[in-house]
């Protein structure tokens, strides 16, 4: 295994507050790595740093040895590092299929002007996008809602659509921002299976930031734990479960200290 993504001493300060402090870890090619941590630990900030949605205050992220920190988000996506979003971030007034088709942007060979005049390359692109979108719909089992307006979808389907949008860009590494948040047990299990299949059937590397412990333990090859913006542990799910620092971070030590 080789490291496809290297996070090296990445730091983010907002004024006097250090949200993420010198966090380092590697993501190996073809693994599913989860970043977990209590509320306010800096998970989301770390996620935005890796996907280059916020500028760093220090350190860097390397993808296949190339620095991607502080690049424009669309350039990072172009290199194959694609993120999904935590909230219901989708194109609301488009149908599921339209959402996925528009997300094929990176794969267009025609120029925008070519699309404007309807060149043969543009038409070929459109046909390919349509076919590929249908394939993704099938892969994620979204057939029943293919032509549904995205704003009408329930939470579970929205997450799946978010993932479908990410897949349409043909990423090398997919960054999932809390993919299981707000889901019931069945939806979570479907999602866990889907994320596994991304790796097993499509060879994707997956990095996810998540809250849902049982799901994380089930899905991850390795886990990185952060607390107060710093990495406190790294290892397999079994190692993490047994790590006293992690237990302390989650259950809290102050309570014991003040005698509660």
């Amino acid at each position: 295994m080789t490291a496809i993504l290297q996070v090296k001493g990445i730091t983010k300060r907002y004024g006097g507050l250090t949200a993420v402090n010198a966090v380092s870890f590697d993501v190996q090619k073809g693994e599913i790595l989860s970043v977990i941590g209590p509320n306010g630990a800096g998970k989301s900030t770390l996620f935005k740093l890796i996907s280059s949605f916020v500028p760093t205050s220090g350190g860097e992220v390397l993808f296949n040895g190339t620095r991607i920190s502080d690049l424009a988000p669309h350039k990072v996506a172009r290199m194959g590092v694609v993120r999904t979003f935590q909230e219901t971030t989708i194109f609301k007034s488009m149908t599921v299929r339209e959402n996925i088709i528009v997300a094929h942007h990176l794969r267009s060979k025609s120029s925008l002007f070519g699309f404007f005049i309807g060149s043969s390359q543009a038409r070929a692109d459109e046909a390919e996008f349509g076919a590929s979108a249908d394939e993704i719909v099938d892969f994620l089992g979204l057939q029943a809602i293919r032509h549904e307006l995205a704003s009408n979808l329930p939470q579970g389907h929205l997450r799946a659509l978010g993932m479908a949008i990410g897949l349409a860009t043909k990423p090398t590494i997919l960054l999932l921002d809390e993919p299981f948040a707000g889901m019931n047990h069945d939806e979570t299990m479907t999602m866990v299976a889907n994320v596994r299949r991304l790796r097993d059937e499509r060879g994707l590397t997956v990095l996810l930031v998540e809250h849902d412990m049982p799901a994380v333990m089930k899905i991850s090859d390795r886990i990185v734990v952060i607390n107060f913006g710093e990495k406190i542990a790294e290892g397999t799910p079994a190692q993490i479960q047994a790590n006293p620092k992690v237990i302390e971070a989650y259950l809290g030590s102050e309570d014991a200290a003040i005698g509660l």
Binding site: F53, H74, A77
Partner: protein, 323 residues
């Protein structure tokens, strides 16, 4: 395109190019030429504003580009001896170029912030025209010649407007031809991948960036096209009035361009055209109400926005039973 749409388009073209001139000749209402020419030109400007709405930006600055295009044409014709036909694209291109410079910083703003900056833009354009020596200050530029002959390779495509028996008709035909061409471009943009990308930008810029869309580039591109439309409408306005002053296009005009889009409907390509026609004619018809003109006009506008928030064209959807 569906057959009904094709038929509608054919009827529309027949109406603007044949029926209107025939009707005007029959009734002798030559003054209508000026009104309809203005509607056609204004609707080109509104088409541009509509396009910026399409990427989720409220543009109240189209008057600035109309003024700019007008001045570019006037200066090139009176001081550099350019033909009107050369200044028509040049005026548009100049505006597109300037809008790139202006757009790069201001298109990062969204919502009301962008709207406020564009609103100021019109005023800046007016003050610039007042201050610069080349624009001749408040005296403006007058006695601009009518469009000359347009000939390519010795073949005269369009005769000199000054020698025409009916230059008003010629201006009308020029304006509606430009309008049809502009809306064809607009329609094509909206219905090609470019339009999908604009919609993705309008609905969620962050997500658009995450799928690899160069959002900054696309915003500026769309704004440049929008400003080109503003510029060419200004060029022809100046050619008709044969003069231009810093007050030829003011903030009110910029606001009107935006209102035309609202009234027509922001989700219909023909929206700005219909909106321009309704509001321009509506205002004209209300002159009979004298002092109450503004009151009635404004009340009707408020009522319209309450009853038809998606524009007049949403009536068609209601009748058609869509949604």
């Amino acid at each position: 395109m569906k057959t009904s749409k094709k038929l509608g388009l054919a009827l529309f073209l027949l109406a603007v190019f044949v029926l209107v001139p025939v009707m005007i000749a029959a009734t002798g209402r030559k003054d209508l030429y000026y009104t309809l020419t203005s509607v056609a030109l204004l609707s080109i400007g509104s088409a541009g504003v509509w396009l910026t709405f399409y990427i989720g930006r409220i543009n109240i600055g189209q008057g600035a580009y109309a003024l700019m295009g007008g001045y570019v044409s006037a200066i090139l014709m009176t001081q550099a001896g350019f033909s009107f036909w050369a200044t028509l694209p040049l005026g548009g291109l100049f505006c597109a170029l300037i809008s790139v410079g202006i757009g790069v910083p201001i298109l990062r703003l969204r919502g009301v912030y962008f709207a406020m900056v564009t609103l100021v833009l019109t005023e800046v354009a007016r003050l610039t025209a007042l201050a610069l020596p080349v624009t001749n200050g408040a005296k403006g530029i007058t006695s601009i010649p009518l469009p000359g002959a347009l000939s390519i390779g010795g073949v005269t495509l369009i005769p000199d407007f000054a020698t025409m028996a009916n230059p008003k008709l010629a201006f009308y035909l020029l304006a509606v031809t430009m309008m049809v061409a502009s809306y064809a471009v607009l329609w094509r943009i909206v219905n090609s991948r470019l339009g999908h990308l604009c919609r993705s930008l309008q609905q969620n810029e962050e997500l658009a960036a995450s799928i690899g869309v160069n959002t900054a580039y696309l915003r500026v591109l769309v704004y440049a096209i929008s400003s080109f439309f503003g510029g060419i409408s200004g060029v022809v306005f100046v050619a008709i009035s044969q003069s231009i002053y810093p007050s030829s296009f003011v903030v009110t005009d910029s606001v009107n361009f935006m209102l035309y889009c609202f009234v027509g409907g922001l989700s219909y390509v023909a929206g700005p055209m219909v909106g321009t026609l309704l509001l321009y004619f509506g205002w004209d018809l209300l002159t009979v109400a004298k002092d109450y003109q503004m009151l009635i006009y404004s009340s009707a506008m408020i009522a319209l926005m309450l009853v038809l928030p998606n524009g007049v064209l949403s009536l068609l959807d209601r009748i058609g039973g869509k949604k």
